[in-house]
């Protein structure tokens, strides 16, 4: 029962916000408007999926924001000038993510500390690559991010694709089930003969992969990079996962919900800006929206539990 609510609530909150935005700004209700409203949410959605991979195995990644910034810097410099070398660096950074996942499990280190440390490493590398803002987006990435498909804007198509593919990968495939099982009960997974280290490394590698995609998309939208470009993504991605119905423990995540959560967060910013709310209140108001949604979820899940208990009894 509660798993059905899990996806219902994010969908509902997104719909309510979208209706409010359309009411405030009817111009947004068009092909062009929807694209403007949502195109910057694509990298946030990808970063949220990356965060979800880590949260899925009961860890948390505090380095995703700086990692995406680092990837953005690599994309705007190496991937543009020497595509092979750039691709190799990005591949190496995904392997580094996998290694971090394995290390965290093998040495039983707290992920929060290791990833916080890594955030300084990625941030430092980004500053080394681009001491001052600059670089250029490779033309093909720019072309992909500004493509105008018929009928439905690129931003919406991209979000549907991300949600659909990750849903298949995490919720439908055997590997996805195993990965979620690591978060649910790692000991049981280990006793049935699977290597938890390998699985955790896999989950982190997936996080690195989606982080790389996020950085590439971001540069495609902004056309160039800045070492601090995506620092906000760390907290946005965590909020997106939770808003989308995920939980910090137990391997309970929802890829579709995570994408919707990211969209909701991006939309909340636009909504507050259309409301002409003073910036001093905006962060607080964004937080209030978050707390409101979570409070509603808590109410629902309590209700669901009672209902189930009553049924069983």
């Amino acid at each position: 029962m509660s798993s059905r609510y899990r996806i219902l609530l994010p969908v509902l909150s997104l719909a309510v916000l979208l209706a409010a935005v359309f009411y405030l700004q009817p111009r947004a209700m068009s092909y062009f408007g929807l694209n403007l409203l949502f195109n910057l949410a694509i990298p946030i959605a990808l970063a949220t999926i990356a965060q979800m991979m880590v949260i899925m195995v009961n860890d948390i990644d505090l380095s995703i924001g700086t990692f995406v910034s680092f990837v953005a810097c690599v994309t705007a410099t190496f991937l543009n000038e020497a595509p092979l070398l750039g691709a190799a660096i990005l591949l190496a950074s995904i392997l580094a993510y996998a290694a971090i996942g394995a290390l965290i499990h093998l040495r039983q280190l707290p992920a929060i500390v290791v990833t916080l440390g890594m955030s300084f490493v990625w941030g430092g590398l980004a500053v080394l690559l681009l001491p001052s803002p600059g670089g250029t987006s490779p033309a093909w990435i720019r072309a992909v991010m500004t493509v105008k498909p018929p009928l439905v804007p690129m931003a919406v198509v991209a979000c549907l694709l991300i949600a659909g593919l990750t849903h298949l990968l995490i919720m439908r495939s055997a590997t996805g089930t195993l990965l979620r099982a690591v978060g649910g009960n790692a000991q049981a997974v280990a006793r049935s003969g699977w290597s938890v280290t390998g699985l955790k490394a896999g989950a982190y590698a997936l996080a690195g992969f989606f982080g790389v995609l996020s950085g590439i998309c971001l540069v495609g939208l902004t056309t160039s990079a800045d070492a601090n470009i995506a620092l906000r993504y760390t907290l946005l991605s965590i909020a997106g996962v939770i808003l989308g119905g995920g939980e910090f423990t137990g391997g309970r995540v929802s890829p579709v919900g995570a994408v919707i959560g990211a969209l909701t967060l991006a939309l909340a910013g636009s909504f507050l800006s259309f409301m002409r709310l003073s910036p001093d209140w905006q962060i607080g108001a964004q937080g209030a929206i978050l707390i409101l949604v979570l409070a509603v979820r808590l109410l629902f899940s309590r209700h669901g539990k009672k209902w189930r208990v009553a049924n069983n009894g």
């Binding site: 947004a28 803002p133 470009i229 906000r232 991006a266 910036p279």
Partner: protein, 338 residues
């Protein structure tokens, strides 16, 4: 004769009506300010100037709206989203103080493609379709040394107080100072500290380096650090050298009291936060159809011995000397760049 007079009269009428019609052209245009940060006295003064000048322009019927927006966090991604929202809100011109010179280019390109005029100032952007009102920070550094050379023909030792490390403005002013020292080789920079444009940081940094320095003839600064330097030098019991100031109220107050005490003379220069209003008028001129070059330079605001009392009196406590630009100033800057 009579008909000639009539003709002249008609010509005069047309001439009178022309500026009026020029104003009417932008009466239905809406201009927005996209700002990335409001957390210091400079930005607060900038927003205040904007609402004052913009509000008056709207009341006078020069523009339909002059709304200011500040992002809740100082992040390029936030500001890019903010600019995209402005496109949706249907503004005719967007005036930007950018969080990053490059990371907003995608959003700014979107705005240009939607037919919106984009004018960046202070924090300028590199996207070619936008206008840039830049500050010649290098010249600001060079002029400090030039002023010192006019006061001290024999030269001497200089202490340099720099800004926040790694920020573009700090590098530019520093380069200007180096250029000035090359131009006037009698000066020698004997020490350099980072004051982060804050009086307390500058005071600590200067106090730390002072014991290792020889006699100082002058202190070159970046603004926001002159008062702290003066306090540190006084605490060390040294004679006060010529400290170039940066238009902050506390700096000018200290300068005025030192002048009353012992005839202390110096120069103060910085960028007026009212530069936002210059950008407003430039945007208005572009909307009006004027030919405006893409790159403009703002004059910086200098406070001299003669204008000290006047400027100090008009600067609120804890703020920075300001000047609001008018349509005529904007026209002069545009004409100067052609």
């Amino acid at each position: 004769m009579n008909s000639k007079a009539k003709l002249l009269g008609a010509a005069a009428l047309v001439a009178l009506a022309l500026p009026g019609s020029a104003i009417a052209d932008t009466a239905d245009k809406r201009i927005a300010l996209s700002n990335n940060y409001a957390g210091n006295s400079w930005r607060q003064a900038m927003l205040e100037s904007w609402s004052k000048v913009g509000g008056k322009a709207v009341a006078d019927g020069v523009a339909a709206a002059a709304d200011a927006f500040t992002t809740s966090e100082n992040q390029a991604t936030e500001q890019a989203a903010q600019i995209q929202n402005m496109i949706l809100q249907g503004y005719d011109a967007i005036v930007v103080n950018a969080a990053s010179p490059t990371a907003l280019n995608g959003a700014i390109k979107e705005a240009c493609d939607a037919g919106i005029t984009v004018v960046s100032f202070d924090g300028i952007v590199t996207e070619p379709c936008a206008w840039r009102i830049a500050v010649d920070f290098k010249e600001m550094g060079r002029q400090q040394v030039e002023y010192l050379a006019s006061r001290l023909p024999d030269g001497g030792n200089l202490l340099e107080i720099r800004g926040l490390a790694g920020v573009f403005v700090d590098d530019e002013i520093h380069a200007g100072i180096e250029q000035g020292v090359k131009e006037f080789p009698k000066f020698k920079i004997v020490g350099s500290v980072h004051g982060d444009w804050a009086q307390d940081v500058a005071q600590k940094a200067v106090a730390g380096i002072l014991p290792s320095l020889p006699d100082l003839a002058g202190v070159v600064t970046q603004g926001g650090d002159g008062y702290g330097a003066a306090q540190a030098i006084k605490a060390a019991g040294r004679e006060t050298p010529i400290i170039v100031m940066g238009n902050r109220q506390d700096e000018m107050k200290w300068w005025a009291s030192a002048r009353d005490e012992n005839g202390y003379e110096t120069l103060s220069l910085s960028i007026a936060p009212g530069v936002g209003t210059l950008a407003f008028w430039v945007a208005q001129q572009i909307l009006d159809g004027a030919e405006v070059p893409k790159d403009l330079t703002v004059p910086f605001l200098k406070v001299t011995q003669d204008t000290l009392d006047e400027t100090l009196a008009s600067t609120p406590v804890g703020s920075v000397a300001n000047v609001e630009y008018s349509l005529e100033d904007a026209k002069a800057v545009i004409a100067g760049a052609k």
